[in-house]
């Protein structure tokens, strides 16, 4: 695990608190707003940030994150701009772990080695690539390892006891448990089922377990925070952002405060969950 990630999870564990992981998409709705929003997230209560790398064909994402990607691309999003946003963030925050999340083609197109080098240099801690399962991971993991980046792996309700070791063989940082069968931002999982799944996963690994997909409210986030080491919220945050935009997808003075306020509510839920 990178120093930043292990330090963050150790601090939280010592405080008996789960982490709030917040997803935002790079360059959504524009470069300046996305940069300022990202910088506002730690103070609002995000413990870890997932920075989405926009892609035209996000196959595992629901409408909210699809639209975020398209808004970002319309605003000129690119891998270079994502990395630039990361540099801008690190200029003001050297503590909050950043996970880059996206799909493989833009990474492949940029060049896997160049991507790993530039992302690490800019201050990323880990990478989630939704469409690279363990079967194809050898394309990516040597370069990530060389540059000290964690390959964050996904486990799902379909990952049984035979499958989990295959996933964990590549996993670093934390394990991201996808709580529902489905795409982001749609259904929500029942806490009892997630609790069982997380217990099963813990038999296979000592990595922290984050739960995501379908967590929309501070209450749901709190529920997951009692079960897992981290709760990930993406689509609900994006929805708050989208609701503040003009019909032409321009940011308004409300954009950053509205998202920050919502992240604050989520953080209160997560951080108070085990009290």
């Amino acid at each position: 695990m990178t120093a930043r990630l292990s330090r963050r999870f150790a601090e939280l564990k010592a405080a008996n608190r789960a982490a709030l992981v917040v997803y935002v998409a790079a360059t959504d709705p524009d470069e300046a707003t996305a940069t300022a929003l990202m910088q506002a997230l730690p103070e609002a209560g995000a413990d870890v940030i997932e920075l989405g790398m926009p892609f035209t064909d996000p196959m595992a994402d629901g409408p909210s994150i699809q639209k975020a990607a398209l808004r970002a691309l319309a605003a000129g999003a690119s891998m270079k701009k994502t990395i630039a946003q990361l540099y801008a963030f690190r200029a003001v925050d050297t503590d909050t772990p950043i996970i880059l999340m996206g799909y493989y083609n833009p990474i492949d197109s940029y060049g896997v080695s160049r991507f790993a080098a530039d992302a690490a240099e800019a201050g990323a801690d880990g990478v989630i690539v939704v469409d690279v399962p363990p079967e194809e991971a050898d394309e990516l993991t040597p370069a990530l390892k060389r540059h000290g980046l964690d390959f964050i792996c996904l486990a799902t309700p379909t990952s049984d006891d035979a499958r989990l070791p295959k996933i964990l063989a590549h996993a670093g940082g934390f394990l991201y448990y996808v709580a529902v069968l489905g795409i982001t931002g749609t259904r929500s999982a029942a806490a009892a089922q997630v609790e069982q799944a997380v217990a099963r996963i813990r038999k296979h690994t000592d990595l922290p377990v984050a739960v995501g997909f379908g967590i929309k409210t501070p209450g749901q986030a709190a529920e997951m925070a009692r079960i897992a080491d981290a709760a990930v919220v993406g689509s609900a945050v994006i929805d708050k952002l989208a609701a503040t935009l003009t019909p032409e997808n321009q940011a308004t003075p409300e954009t950053i405060p509205a998202v920050a306020a919502f992240v604050g509510e989520l953080a209160a839920g997560v951080h108070g969950a085990r009290a």
């Binding site: 629901g62 492949d108 469409d131 049984d160």
Partner: protein
Amino acid sequence: MNTRLPNSFAAGPDDRGHFGPYGGRFVAETLMPLILEVEKAFAAASADPAFKAEMDGYLADFVGRPSPLYFAERLTEICGGAKIYFKREDLNHTGAHKVNNCIGQILLAKRMGKTRIIAETGAGQHGVATATVCALFGIPCVIYMGAVDIARQQPNVFRMKLLGAEVRPVTSGAATLKDAMNEAMRDWVANVEDTYYLIGTVAGPHPYPVMVREFQKIIGEEAKAQLQAKEGRLPDSLYAAVGGGSNAIGLFYPFLDDPSVKIYGVEAAGRGTDTEEHAASLTMGRPGVLHGSRTYLLQNDDGQITEAYSISAGLDYPGVGPEHSWLKDAGRIDYVSITDAEALDAFHQMTRHEGIIPALESSHAIAQVLKVAGSLPKDHIILACLSGRGDKDVETVAKAMGKEL
């Protein structure tokens, strides 16, 4: 390019689904166990003579196979060169080659105990074929189709509905085949327990490219035997339209290791490969990863997928089956492209001179044949795939002619 020639061009893929650097299984973890299950079930079915017997029965009595091999005497005369033969996949039940694959996969889905079918469609041919086999076996099905394609392929949309399918319009992206495939994958991720995704072409994650090829190679196997019976020899050249590439691989595959046979895949050049409006991923694209496999793609410098365009909805896809990518790099197949205008001209020639209204997809292959046949010797034998009939396209053609139906 490969540094050494393989012993066989027909040996792939390896057990991880790779054709050289292409193919693979680039899917979300949720789908992985299911894809492994499909792979296992397909391997078991392939080894089971009862499965083949059942499939052959439906192909004979329901689809109407073998499809004829037709000598196009008048086009041959008009071109004044090579002898032109067409493999008549347009005469299959449902009007295209797509049904060959659908019979195979629906029988597999049944073996796997799946109770719901999903599929994507562009021109609607695969959607109609899927809806047809689902009606045949009484399995509910949902067809994802881009809203733009729905507008230009109304007859097929209505056909699918008559057959009992639910047609779900897809409005994301450019609202065409690529986006329909994204939506189908999203559906599958959410319904892995009971749903089988019946992919219509040799694309997608392993094992789909090899499985669809195995269900389509009957095109080339039959044609090879039929031409042997008529001419006593192999053809000299093969032509087929390439969108995802399933009719093409179906015709080509049994000839890959016959070095005397030249093979040409014909992509859609749309308004021209010098414009941005085409679907020529092999001739104009570069390798990348989309919809589960590494293959040639239309993409920008930043790895974002660009929109494909063709007058033919079935060729309007920014990727292509990974085996085609490998065969291109290996130098075994030449890929060329045909514009909308050339395809339309071929559509009219075929209709007027042979009394066969071809699909606009197939018209691309025909156009390439018409382009080259005249300059080839009279003892040269061309074998082209007439992959589908054009009834579904008459509105599009009328519009291109400036007429309203």
